[in-house]
């Protein structure tokens, strides 16, 4: 029917090195630049009302005392300010760059209720924390070693956060990380225009500089380390293994060349020179979460001519924030609402069409949002690359292999304890994938639970 493709159009359109060095630099420049001067930070800090029982703090998953740290900037107690932030969130620097603040702290700033611009909390947080990291201020003192050892699996936000709390209490921590770098999704899974590899490395070094934290790279649970060994050699084990690749679409043609996984795509981008990362001419991105936005915008920034986001519900139900959606729109990405992938067609084994079902909204589902219902109508998109970003899947097989109780791969916990005594878990591997800041809080909770288990007051 519509498959009369001319031979000339069969040129492989997925390729790298589409832009000049300068264009890559421009496209992947820091999207939220910091305050240029101390005075600029002061002007903003002085705008803060210093609310009591502040809505911003209550909206932060790690409960950073935001009015306090902002006040400390205005009194020029920057060390105190950084300490206030890191005390609640040791990844406060990274969070200041990647948090969807518009739905967290800044979203609940009381200025919104006056129709005034909310305080630029993230920017102020970045100001204080970057100073601490650059100047290498050691703001926490590790207690003398108490002879207890804890193993943590995964050096992402949850693992690092847990490690820092434990180390402060004098516990010797060993983190096993399957990759060659720490930071987890911060290092591997977030748009490059939000955090740089150098920043991620500096942040991890800053966290571990407290001492008592050893990270063993290229150690993967189930491959070259076993839970049983960790249980034997340590006083407690904390699993912070995160989630895996993008959820399968479960549609015909999914295995065709040209269908990419968003996590993999971003991983490539974060680990290699931009010029070496391939991207199509016409790219479709499936999903509208933060990862979908990060994939779509970066496909465009790598030089894709057309990027179309396919989302099965409407704007009212979207999982990403308005701010994120605006980034995609400003980057020139198209969005097709009420559309779900139905089939992927190919020519010569390579993707060339995405057939989508038109959807309509039905009754609210478990999330409270109106559910998408398939209609009889379909439409067709000419594409040469498809990026799947419709949620991520937990490591179901892995957790089953080690007999950890789970629900569809998501580890079940009670006060951070799994079904196995002495084995704790937290972060994305428990919640199925949330923000970095949620993982940091999970790490703190895990540490607190471990400390109780070890009989240490905290």
């Amino acid at each position: 029917m519509l498959l009369n493709i001319k031979q000339s159009e069969l040129i492989i359109m997925i390729k790298n090195n589409r832009l000049t060095k300068e264009q890559y630099e421009e496209n992947f420049r820091d999207i939220h630049p910091p305050f240029e001067t101390h005075d600029a930070a002061l002007v903003e800090a002085n705008r803060c009302l210093f609310c009591y029982d502040a809505p911003c703090t209550k909206s932060c998953p790690t409960s950073i005392n935001i009015p306090k740290f902002i006040k400390q900037i205005s009194t020029e107690n920057i060390k105190g300010s950084a300490h206030t932030i890191f005390q609640s969130n040791i990844m406060g620097a990274g969070c200041s760059k990647v948090c969807p603040v518009e739905k967290l702290c800044e979203g609940s700033c009381v200025f919104n209720l006056m129709n005034e611009t909310p305080i630029h909390i993230a920017k102020l947080q970045r100001y204080a924390t970057e100073k601490a990291i650059t100047q290498k201020w050691q703001l926490f003192e590790r207690k003398k070693p108490i002879g207890k050892k804890v193993a943590i699996v995964g050096a992402g936000p949850a693992g690092l956060s847990c490690a820092h709390v434990l180390s402060r209490e004098g516990i010797d921590v060993t983190i096993y990380e399957k990759e060659s770098k720490s930071g987890g999704l911060m290092t591997y899974g977030i748009a490059a225009y939000k955090v740089t590899p150098q920043f991620c490395e500096d942040e991890v070094n800053y966290i571990t500089s407290i001492g008592g934290i050893e990270i063993k790279y290229d150690h993967e649970l189930g491959r070259n380390i076993l839970l049983a060994d960790l249980q034997k050699n340590y006083d407690a084990v904390y699993l912070a293994i995160g989630v895996g690749l993008a959820r399968q679409l479960e549609i015909p043609g999914e295995d065709t060349e040209g269908v990419f996984d968003a996590i993999r795509f971003i991983y490539e981008l974060r680990n290699n020179d931009f010029s070496s990362v391939v991207v199509g001419d016409k790219v479709a991105v499936i999903g509208l979460g933060m990862t979908a936005i990060d994939a779509a915008t970066q496909a465009k920034r790598l030089g894709a001519k057309e990027v179309t986001i396919i989302y099965r519900r409407t704007e009212a139900e979207k999982p990403c924030t308005d701010v994120e959606l605006d980034i995609a729109k400003l980057d020139g990405c198209n969005i097709i609402w009420l559309a779900a992938p139905k089939e992927i067609k190919s020519v010569n084994g390579k993707v060339n069409q995405l057939i989508c079902s038109k959807m309509k909204l039905g009754e609210p589902d478990a999330s409270g949002r109106r559910s998408p219902v398939e209609t009889d109508e379909t439409f067709l998109l000419e594409v040469d690359m498809i990026i799947k970003a419709a949620g991520q899947t937990p490591f179901e097989k892995l957790v089953n292999d080690i007999s950890i109780k789970n629900s569809k791969g998501k580890i079940e916990i009670n006060n951070c304890v799994t079904n196995i005594k002495g084995v704790f878990a937290g972060g994305d591997c428990v919640n199925g994938g949330k923000e970095v800041v949620d993982a940091v809080q999970a790490g703190k909770d895990g540490a607190s639970s471990i400390l109780s288990y070890l009989g240490i007051k905290n």
């Binding site: 002061l42 002007v43 800090a45 002085n46 705008r47 009302l49 210093f50 609310c51 009591y52 029982d53 502040a54 809505p55 911003c56 209550k58 909206s59 205005s74 609940s108 009381v110 200025f111 209720l113 006056m114």
Partner: protein, 422 residues
């Protein structure tokens, strides 16, 4: 359009805004620029003894991110040759004959010096004198400035010397560095001064450099007390002005109000408490002469709104409204009310009341927004919540009298009504 022209002791100016004796009025180039900008008059920077200044000379207090809430200086009287000052004064008067030209004086502490100085300055055609009895630094060590103003006897003597020689109006400027400005004010009025002006600057230390540990302003590793002025001193100036306006002796002469005047509103407040005109310095040192435009326009609009045709229609209107504590009406009672539609849930009213006042605000937990309401039976009507609330008119004070009749403290006591009841 209201008439904002001013007549102070027969000295006329198109508006009641004069520049105070200070660096902005120390030479022709500034004064001409001030007149071009629209200032009604100037008090030329003090002429008198020979002096030598130091560097640096100024320092400031910033507050909440705003610069120069308060300002201090250790500069002395004019350090330019007297002859140059005199010829420039004369030129300025000729170029702007409709503006007031007052010359500030501080002669050496003998009659002859004062008489000679008065004669020389009168020859310029100046419209009046202001006697500097207030400068708190540098000159006091030599028995001048505040050293004169702090001792009513000496002040009286110097004013008498001046009045013997002066043929143009004399204003005596009072120092605030005393327990009360009234004794010196009375002595000066009794000695014949035609008017008073106040306040001069307040002795101060504005701050200390936490690296060098040297207070401000820094002069080769040392500092001295400087004269404090600017918005921070306005409430103190208004209080001192009121005591002069209410005193039966000092209230007989016109008063020129000084001390932190920065806007037309400040000026109106000084005039409501008895000042016939005002003098400005710190605000122009921060922003330049251009601020006089809004001062004139704002004053004019306010007078039109209130139906005042001339300045005399409202000068002194608030003087009788400041009374003694024992005459206040104890039956007057107000309680706070929070407008829930306007509330932004910042909690500032709650924490202020809870920690430091009468625990009269109820907190109902919410995530992320708490709801705050007034416990009327606990509220003493102190205003604190309203003062700290960042939203205009969100918290209002509602009158709930304890009794219909006026009841003051003396009556309350004689009726044996309950004390310490809260």
């Amino acid at each position: 359009m209201a008439d904002i022209s001013s007549n102070f002791l027969g000295i006329k100016s198109p508006n009641p805004f004069w520049l105070a004796s200070a660096p902005p009025t120390d030479k022709k180039i500034n004064v001409l620029r001030a007149f071009e900008a629209g200032w009604g008059g100037v008090v030329w920077k003090t002429l008198g003894s020979q002096v030598k200044n130091v560097s640096s000379r100024y320092s400031a207090v910033d507050y909440g991110g705003k610069k120069v809430m308060g300002f201090n200086n250790i500069e002395l009287i004019s350090d330019r040759p007297l002859e140059i000052n005199l010829s420039e004064i004369e030129e300025c008067i000729k170029l702007f004959p409709d503006r007031a030209m007052i010359v500030s004086l501080m002669a050496d502490n003998d009659k002859k010096s004062w008489h000679e100085l008065i004669k020389k300055v009168e020859d310029t055609g100046a419209h009046g004198f202001e006697l500097n009895f207030g400068c708190p630094h540098g000159m006091t060590e030599r028995g001048m400035g505040a050293a004169v103003g702090q001792d009513p006897e000496i002040a009286k003597m110097v004013v008498e010397w001046v009045m013997e020689a002066a043929t143009i109006p004399v204003i005596t400027k009072l120092t605030p560095n005393v327990h009360s400005v009234v004794p010196t004010g009375r002595a000066c009025v009794e000695a014949g001064t035609n008017a008073l002006s106040l306040i001069n600057t307040i002795q101060s230390v504005t701050g200390i450099d936490l690296d060098t540990l040297v207070p401000n302003p820094f002069v080769a590793g040392k500092s001295v007390f400087g004269g404090y002025c600017g918005p921070a001193v306005k409430p103190i100036a208004l209080k001192m002005l009121t005591t002069i306006s209410q005193d039966p002796v000092t209230s007989k002469v016109p008063i020129s109000g000084i001390g932190g005047v920065s806007t037309w509103k400040d000026a109106v407040e000084f005039m409501l408490l008895g000042a016939s005109n005002v003098q400005v310095c710190t605000a122009v040192m921060k922003h330049g002469f251009r601020i006089v435009e809004d001062m004139c326009e704002g004053l004019n609009n306010w007078m039109d709104e209130k139906g005042y045709k001339t300045l005399n229609d409202f000068i002194g209107k608030s003087v009788e409204k400041i009374t003694h504590w024992e005459d206040l009406d104890i039956n007057y009672h107000i309680v706070a009310n929070i407008n829930q539609d306007k509330c932004i849930h910042c909690g500032l009213c709650y924490i202020a009341c809870e920690d430091t006042s009468h625990q009269s605000i109820h907190l109902e937990y919410g995530k992320p927004y708490n709801t705050y309401s007034i416990k009327e039976e606990e509220c003493v009507g102190c205003n604190l919540c309203k003062l700290v609330c960042p939203v205009d008119n969100c918290i209002t004070m509602v009158e709930q009298r304890k009794g219909d009749e006026y009841l003051n403290w003396k009556e309350y006591q004689s009726l044996g009504l309950p004390l310490n009841d809260h």
